[in-house]
Amino acid sequence: MRQTLQNIFRLGIKELRSLRTDPVLLLLIVYSFTYAIYAVSKGMSFEVADASVAIVDEDRSALSHAISEAVLKPYFKSAVEIGAADVDKAMDAGRYVFVIDIPPSFEKDTLAGRRPGIQLNVDATAMAQAGNGAAYLESIIDDEVRNYLRATMNTPPLPINLVIRTKFNPNGTSYWFMAIMQVVNNITILSIILTGAALIRERERGTIEHLLVMPVTPFEIMFAKIWANGLVILASAILSLIVVVHLLLGVPIQGSLLLFIAGAIIFEFSVTALGILLATFSNSMPQFGLLAMPILVILELLSGSTTPLETMPGWLQFIMELTPAPHFVSFAQAILFRSAGFDIVWQDMAILAVIGAVYFAIALMRFRNAIVRFQ
């Protein structure tokens, strides 16, 4: 037992030394946990922010002016006025997501209680912003019209006072979410590629053959890869979480960082085991790359970190449940946003551990055969 631990430790040190000799690789790891996180969380958001709006003002009244002025940051960029003839061209080119068309004599008709129509054109290919942005614009227009009317005549008060409060991320700033999810995604990508490729490299260079005549077991070889690569990735991830996400981007970290780290270790185990498992299914680095790539993209986009999990069809949800990503995303959200404690997240942790153990066990069974087959 002590011997096993020592072997795992020694082989792991070897992994770390190998990693150190590839400066390009190290640079890429740094990039993926610094600038990549920053750029994504600052560069895009799913919330309606800075959406581009144009307005066709055929009324030129105080009311139409008020509506145009009400389209405000941070949700929208200031509305640009365009001519009615330019609407199609501008939208075809994707210059604006929303175009508001205020018809002639809109103000007059409104005051006369004729409920005039106001047209809102939405580029529905911009899925993430189209729906929510349209809803916002509708309510902005509505509010403006109502305020305008209230100033000029009496309208009945609303029967209830609806208050919508957002918990855990009260301002709805999506870069909080994006930043943390980007860290999680990068952990997945790095773990699968580094660990899996480390095994393929040993096979391609023939060093695994040497290992297999030494008194070390496949279990030790695999575990060494897991801890060494996992350590590098986790250390960078946690550093990134504290320095880039917390200090630089100013995202508050609500829950216990220690609990998060504990979960991250279990997650790390499961994804590195997945990396090794994939490596046992491929004979060469190009094959491994092609196998890993779709899996990485699926884990990134369908884990619930980009779009909500509950909108996926049932069969797909079920498949995704068998991968570690959605469990860790739900775990990370619970701790980092909702400051959940162990009593709430233990289930996710347990599932992650089971998934990791299953991957590891299958990889272990395939290990020796996969290597003999390769020769």
Partner: protein, 916 residues
Amino acid sequence: MPAAEPTSPAPFAAEVSGLRHVYGKTVALDGFSLAVPAGRLCGLIGPDGVGKSTLLSLIAGVREIQTGEVRALDGDMRDPIHRSVSHRRIAYMPQGLGRNLYPTLSVFENLDFFGRLFGQGKAEREARIAELLKATGLDPFPDRPAGKLSGGMKQKLALCCALIHDPDLLILDEPTTGVDPLSRLQFWSLIARMRARQPGMSVIVATAYMEEADRFDWLAAMNAGRVIGTGTPGEIKARAGQATLEAAFIGLLPQELRASHQPVVVPPRVDDDGVPSIEARGLTRRFKDFTAVDHVSFSVGRGEIFGFIGSNGCGKTTTMKMMTGLLPASEGEALLFGKPLDARDMEVRRRVGYMSQSFSLYSELTVLQNLELHARLFRLPPDHAGERIAEVMQHFELDKIADERPEALPLGIKQRLQLAVAVLHRPEVLILDEPTSGVDPIARDVFWRYLIELSRKEGVTIFLSTHFMNEAARCDRISLMHAGRVLAVGTPAELVKASGETTLEGAFISYLEAASEEAGQREEEDASAGTVYPEPPPRRHRYDPLRFWAYARRETMELIRDPIRLAFALLGPIILMIAFGYGISFDVENLPYAVYDQDQSRESRELLESFSGSRYFSEHTPITSASALDQRLKRGELKLAVEVPPEFGRDLLRGRQPEVAVWLDGAMPFRSDTARGYIEGLALTYMADEIQRRTGRPANVTAADVETRFRYNQAFKSVYAIVPGVIMLMLVLIPAMMTAVAVVREKETGSIANFRSTPVTKVEFLLGKQAPYFLTACVSFVTLLLLAVLVFGLSIKGSFLVLVAGSLLYILATTGFGLLVSSFTNTQIAALFATVILSLIPSVNFSGLLVPVSSLSTAGRIFGLAFPAAWFQQISIGVFTKGLGIAELWPALLMLAFFFVLFTGLAAVALRKREA
């Protein structure tokens, strides 16, 4: 001096002066000058690591000159024009067991590739290949993949590849290392025939075989980066006053090196009648279509030195691998220490030391780190380990290079390191597969003295294979193998006697010839001097479609040979499109919610009914307390909670505007924003109904009517927006990665040497590598298009032609991006990782797939537009959903073409034709 006549050859094949070459801190050559005569067979001899390989690569023009002058074929090798002319006249065969071959290609295809690179026509190629294969005895296996050849056969094939274009200058770096004596004979007679046909041809060879060097026309003996003697073998022997070249070479060495050398003496072995340490009983190994080892039986006593000799590819390595448990036997039994071998038995492993034929230590760890790793894994006691490591390092002369990494070391020194590792843990049995291949004569003797000491003093059993007959003669017993069977076993003297020859080498050759005759494979000596082919027409140096085609064709064949890779490349995108087409949806539905109704009145139920009736929400069991509300949201079970205050109904009826609170989980802002919109909508409807209930007439809560028109996607379904995006995503990630890894793979496996030493230009090489992945991606595009139309029901509203043109340009750009990545990465891991990390972010986040480009921050927009994905996304979405054509999309097409030129151009600039 007048210019040389075209007919009279230059006096020197190569001339170097004042040459200095440094690798990091190691000086390989310093103030080195040498003139190698033309038209002759010239040898470089000297210990490992004296700069022979560096010198040869500089003369061949595959390495950048640091300081000094190199002239070859009467021209300056610093001059790029002369270099590019020379590439067609020089053939260079690098060190290593066929490292420049393509393992999945057959013997014939490898040769065919080289023939094409030199612009030979079909008939000429076939004739030359047939001749070369016959001359080297490879003719029975033209269809065997190069990767399945034995080490020596690979060497022969590599030589054939070098000889295919009738070079004027042939540069061979240890060409016969690991080649069996019979093949060596065939090898040199092939060279002799080539020279007879082409009398002007100069040959420069580095070799560790002194018997071979003895037959050369001219020799240069090197030591420590300097020349210590030149002349014919006879002159060198005469100068040193020695009868053999080996002795003469030792005589030329400086005093202190000479002093350490003594002849190897083998003391007689005392017979040990105990249990044999190694025993094979009818050991057989079959691969798919042939039997590599056929019922081999032998036994090796404790302390015996047992040698395996035999032709290349006869099954020696396979037998040894079975004895270590690396390969399971198909039939028969392997016994170690009298017990059947169990591959999982750690105790047995610790008693065995193994050295494989090809280098199998960690090239990314230093020499010392490799030794330390093995010491720990073999459980040497820590206090003893340091001492033991120092001991073997001294013994194998590794102490000066303790902190260097093996990848930079010459073959002979790598072999020493492998030996040092194999004996480090004092095993009782040593299994050594060609341990001395590529090692210089002096170091070989040092090593043999060590083995003999182990055997005689410590009773270590040694089982080794070798191609050196003087080494075989030192074994207690040898076993001669051929074609998977043992031909004879006995002491060297017995075998010589039985064959009726005088030397072991003679005995070996006669045994093998007899065996080949039996098998009906007798070779007829080729009497003709070979056909002389006309010089191929001079080819343009900038760009030659034939060389491009040679690379493209070869790369395509390698891809086709790897059906798994091809399948992954084509199936991956299909699976992804299905997963994303169904999986990525911005339609927020079925949000789990619960109510905390503290009023429980008719009015509160009316309010809550508007929620339960909506398809956007799905109701969970009601909340009973304020703390439960908190807990359930925290757990993520609920995404929103509706709280109705006590007295709600009464307040409502009295017109007091009671407050209804809705709590949203804001962890995922997109979802909470959407939910907010839904709730506001529901509330407005509820309020309108409520006013109507009280006043009895329809009420308008809103004063104006906003008509929202969802353009391009009236149904507002995610699939119409996502599927075109998936095409964009798949045509960047997979083609870029395949291309990048394919190029870097050549760097890692060593076949990049062919790019350096042949006339192929950078652009031909890069485009040739790119072509098959471009085609694969085109096929992928067609399948994705069909999937989009047939399965997801998308229709192409715009110009189909623009979509096709855009896709082709986009694939060119993304495979070009792969080429660019390959130019700054040196390992496949880094290349894989770099393409994923560098292309995933701009294509997923900043391309317009998830968020429109016009809504990105300025930095994000620049990031996105600086990558082809965002431009193709405009085309894909534009043609599929917006019905656009060339009038709107020409700028995007232009940008994609620009990216292709930019990426490929940058990759060509960054790629180095010569090694640093």
